[in-house]
């Protein structure tokens, strides 16, 4: 180990110089806060240009009247009028408020009975869809992750199979379920109708369509849950299970007392993002049924956008974001708990 002091750390360090080394030194000496902001710069930069700046522009749009004729994008500045009129129902006629009210008259959707404001209707539809599908996704995704976490022959392929639905483009996912429930093509319509579960045209019945949408969504996005939760499971120190086993924990107790609390942050992240995704559901609705059967919040945004009601559309987008923000804050609070005061 020849006391070759030329290879000494100190000397090696001091021999190096130049801008790179100086930059590294500078970074290392930053306080926690400064270092944090430095590392966040790239993320904030790209989000600034690609996300925040457009949002500000769009917010500007939302303060202007729609302009359907003429060259401009939007009309004159109207302040918060768009928001006020949307929330008070004065824009109802302009929004997709498709089949829901008819269903209401049928008494099939008792909890949205008499909702005349399409905004409230969209909110109801979106919330119901979100709650039901996120619930099933989480439960099923967790189950799948637990299966994938086991050691058995062929698990590699089972894993692939379970994750695969997530890789299916929404258009195709939509096509698959559209064709499954299309009368005279799908083989599921008749039996389900005979069982009294579905009507003869499930894709134009709001309640049936909601169920189909939930099934389609759960089929695809359980894989998302499974993937994330699996990663979370894999990161748990296996020693803890040894301790638990010796201490006398049954499988179930190991699950509730160790696995669950330790993957909870991951599960919450997954649920958080699935909730956000479900609250913005649009593509699936468009491809499986239509926005007029199951009008969601995003349906309103997109239909307003594509009919060039930019002011209205922008306002709905911001209201939607506001609603999502409220839903998300629930998770954030939970998440902070699970992380031990983190976030």
């Amino acid at each position: 180990m020849a006391t070759d002091h030329s290879t000494d750390d100190f000397e090696r360090e001091s021999r190096r110089s130049g801008p790179y080394v100086r930059a590294v030194r500078w970074m290392e000496n930053l306080g926690d806060a400064a270092f944090a902001y430095l590392l966040l710069t790239p993320a904030l930069l790209i989000l600034g240009v690609i996300a925040f700046w457009p949002l500000i522009r769009t917010f500007e749009l939302s303060l202007h009247a729609d302009q359907l004729v003429g060259t401009g994008t939007v009309g004159e500045f109207v302040g918060l009028t768009n928001y006020v009129e949307l929330l008070t129902g004065q824009r109802s006629a302009l929004l997709v408020r498709p089949l829901l009210p008819t269903v209401v008259w049928n008494g099939q959707f008792p909890f949205v009975h008499g909702i005349a404001n399409p905004f409230t209707a969209a909110l109801t539809v979106t919330f119901i869809f979100t709650i039901v599908s996120v619930f099933f996704e989480t439960v099923i995704g967790f189950g799948q992750a637990l299966v994938l976490d086991q050691d058995f022959r062929g698990r590699r392929w089972v894993r692939v199979a379970i994750i695969l639905p997530w890789a299916v483009p929404i258009v195709i996912q939509g096509m698959i379920f559209f064709l499954l429930f299309q009368p005279n093509i799908g083989f599921l319509v008749d039996p389900l109708q005979n069982l009294g579960v579905f009507s003869s045209t499930p894709l134009s019945n709001s309640v049936d369509s909601m169920i189909i949408l939930v099934v389609a969504d759960v089929w695809k996005t359980s894989a998302f849950m499974a993937l994330l939760i699996l990663a979370g499971l894999q990161s748990i120190d296996r020693n803890l299970y040894e301790v638990a086993r010796v201490t006398g924990a049954s499988k179930w107790q190991q699950f509730t007392m160790i696995t669950l609390p330790l993957v909870l942050p991951t599960v919450l992240v997954a649920m958080l993002f699935r909730t956000i995704g479900a609250l913005r559901i649009f593509g699936l609705i468009e491809t499986v049924t239509s926005c007029s059967t199951v009008p969601s919040l995003s349906c309103l945004v997109v239909s307003a956008f594509s009919s060039r009601q930019y002011g209205t559309a922008a306002a709905i987008a911001f209201i939607t974001a506001g609603i999502i923000a409220v839903a998300v804050s629930v998770y954030i609070a939970k998440f902070a708990d699970a992380q031990g005061g983190g976030v």
């Binding site: 769009t58 099923i140 195709i172």
Partner: protein, 331 residues
Amino acid sequence: MAQQSDTVGIDADADASKGPFGRWVSKAIRNPERVYRAMFYVVTAFFLFTTLFPFYWLLVLAVTPNEAITSFGFPPVPHGFNPGAFLTIFETVPLHIYVLNSFVLGITTTAIVLVIASLAGYVFGRLDFPGRRPLMLLILAVSYFPPAAFLLPLFQLFTGNVTVGLFGVSVSSPNLYNTPAPMVMPFTALFMPLSIFILTTFYGQIPDGLEDAARIEGTTRLGALFRVIMPLSAPGVATAGVLTFISVYNEFFFSFLMNDGQVASKLAQFFASQNNWAPLVQGILAYQGQYSQMYNLMAAASIVGVLPVAVLVVIAQEKIVSGLTAGALKE
């Protein structure tokens, strides 16, 4: 507990009757592992069936001639057999180029997202600083908005219609339409929050001792991130990567609006950059006519399009369950 005594009851009955099931049950009671195992296989089979059945349906659609896609019974079997659809899809449009484009977009986006999100995940997961929570919420807020909310300004930005006054000189944004940039950048911005959150939770769980050890050994803080924390969070990083890639692969909003749908028709042209970077989703929809929907071709194209991702999943899942199984995160 109650359940257990139930099964014991069954055990007694079954043993008396000595049926094969009874024998199995009594064996199972003595060795509960068998029950777990059996339950496990049942559950696995159930999951396999439910996830794979729609794929089978896709296959049925793909090999059934478009005209015959009607009145399937249960279980659905192909009406006629026309594997030619898998060739037709390549004749009609250069599907492989669309797939290639999607891969380029996906990989580029994933790489950028993983690097930037790792930095952010490190910051949020391991550093304590004022403004941490508000910043996290700000980043998350990006994902609250329907994609449509970004479109108008971004489109103007990427088609060279935004001018910025800089030091008295007004610079207009470059026209990037039909290049990967106007897709990769929004993808990055839209999918990054998820990765940041995933990596934050994973990086936050790495014991401090390991980062300390790396820093003592001579890494910088960033060095410790890339040499120790990231490899140790391999399941999380791989998951974030796979999710980002798949999201890009399936994205259909900016994928439609940031290019004119054209692709190189041959590989040679692809490399000669005669390519407008339309991704797979555009390719699949190319089989959709004003009135006629070539369901069989769309299904075949989907199967072909999903295959590369399946390969990717096979590779990535190794990382997700990598050699950390035995030790995970002990120090």
